[in-house]
Point group: C2
Chain length 312, copies 2
């Protein structure tokens, strides 16, 4: 056993890994987290989190992320920056390659999350979480009786636009080409169009998000070569999800058709001793509460796995 | 459709149901929770919760329970007291019998939790969470370098006693008759006995928990008709789990061999439109974080189920 051998390496330092680290370190399992971006993950860059249970009036995403980090570190979690390129199974030891250097642990948790695909237009990054949104369940309720622009033409865009009508006064749905959602959804969408709740704009690109006094007020686009404008209180963008599983290409770890990681009911992947939790997991809800809960569950499974290793 | 028809009835008002209710009510699904005991469930009667992610220094169980309740009520959840005796499937409507009265909803969440079996001895209820414990993962870390009494002779008692040695200086394991744990566990236990970390007392009943200055200091028992005493800083009792699923006897909802509710990966039970989350679910971790996370996940599944109902 090398001196550098850890009980657990966690890949990612978002809410799911931080929650798992609270559990593993509190039980004296040596734990190091490798993060290539922001500690706290997407939570850290979310303006207000209204539905993480325990904070009745909501909490700022950055504050929540900071508190999760502090709690994990209180019990001894070590967070290092670095990008993981490979996980290798050597039986009772796992090798994780971080910035080209081999690290070893008895168990691994993958909690690298998923990113929402972006349009890459002016205003989008600057107003993320403050007028620009990618999750209707998270932020839809902030738009009661407001106008919204929704972007996308696939199943999730149509489904979420319909969902958002329970809050909004009106939705402009901007579809780059044609609606690609299922027939059932298109049929349902038509009812909302007939009722005047949703207006569909086909062949319309989304070019720019305009703000006034620090608030999203307008979305500019192009239709048939002409400039078009939509007055709005916010914009929801549904153009796909990008799970952070690129580094698993060529590994034995099984992914689903969306490239999310498959797990069993103990959250173990197809590689024994390697677990996955949070938004990177097949079946993920993209909710902080779920990610945190799965982190706790994964930590208990990891403990069980390590106890079994010792008994071998 | 009757005027009394709800979107969702939740059975129980512990952390899992309250978290689910934050989600359903925030999405304008009419939601009523029926609780037969304490709002906040076991969390509410726990002294200090150290590992619920988001509170770096821990939080009092009662405070956390109050905050979960406040958050659910903020969005319109209604919590009523009453005992559920039956769930009946009438296709797109579910009938829940509460104190003998039929209530109707389109979907149901069962989040009634599980109780730890008690010894029923003096001092046990009074010092619950403050010297008397039933969950090593939750409270073991409070006993670093301390002495403990552990009660039980089954798999979980032996496993948790071994787990607790990573914190404690010494454990007295009180076993009423003989050790019933698996051979592997008994073999492992022997190593801790040989090392002097655990002393096993067979044929020993646990009779009384004695406190001094509001702290657990002594456990009294009987062995071979003689009174025996064990100095200690706390006591962990592992004499089984009692899922609150008695009201499901005779229903179509499938239970596992421990009488916990079986669910699929969307947390739906074998009765369509009826979901389960938290400690009552097969595979439960008995952790607030997991229960809360599953509540959020179940709420999203319920929303999907209700959307599908509308599309039929």
């Amino acid at each position: 056993m090398s001196a550098e051998m850890k009980d657990v390496i966690m890949i990612g330092a978002g809410p799911s890994a931080l929650a798992a680290a609270v559990y593993t370190t509190r039980e004296d399992l040596s734990t190091v987290l490798y993060e290539k971006g922001v500690i706290g993950g997407m939570a850290a860059i979310t303006d207000k989190v209204d539905n993480y249970p325990g904070f009745p009036e909501g909490i700022e995403g950055m504050t929540l992320a900071g508190q999760l980090e502090k709690q994990a570190e209180r019990f001894g979690a070590v967070i290092d920056f670095g990008e993981v390129s490979e996980i290798r199974d050597e039986g009772d030891e796992k090798v994780v390659v971080v910035d080209g250097v081999e690290k070893r642990a008895r168990a691994v948790l993958i909690a690298t999350g998923s990113d929402y695909n972006k349009l890459g237009i002016p205003g989008e990054a600057e107003y993320y979480g403050r007028g620009v949104h990618y999750c209707a369940t998270c932020d839809g309720a902030f738009y009661r009786e407001k106008r919204l622009v929704v972007v996308g033409g696939g199943n999730s865009a149509v489904q979420e636009a319909i969902f958002l009508t329970r809050f909004t006064s009106h939705i402009d749905l901007l579809v780059r080409s044609t609606v690609k959602a299922s027939e059932v959804l298109q049929h349902e969408l038509q009812k909302y169009v007939d009722d005047g709740k949703i207006t569909v704009h086909l062949g319309t690109t989304t070019d720019e998000i305009v703000t006034t006094d620090n608030k999203v007020t307008l979305v500019r686009g192009t239709k048939d070569g002409e400039k078009v404008e939509f007055k709005t209180d916010g914009i929801f963008i549904f153009v796909g999800l990008n799970p952070n599983t690129g580094f698993l290409a060529g590994s034995q770890i099984e992914l689903d058709e969306q490239r999310l990681i498959k797990t069993d009911n103990r959250l173990e992947t197809s590689m024994p001793g390697v677990f996955a939790s949070g938004d990177v997991r097949s079946g993920a809800t993209m909710q902080i509460a779920s990610a945190v809960g799965e982190g706790a569950t994964a930590a208990l499974s990891i403990r069980g796995y390590l106890d079994d290793l010792k008994r071998k």
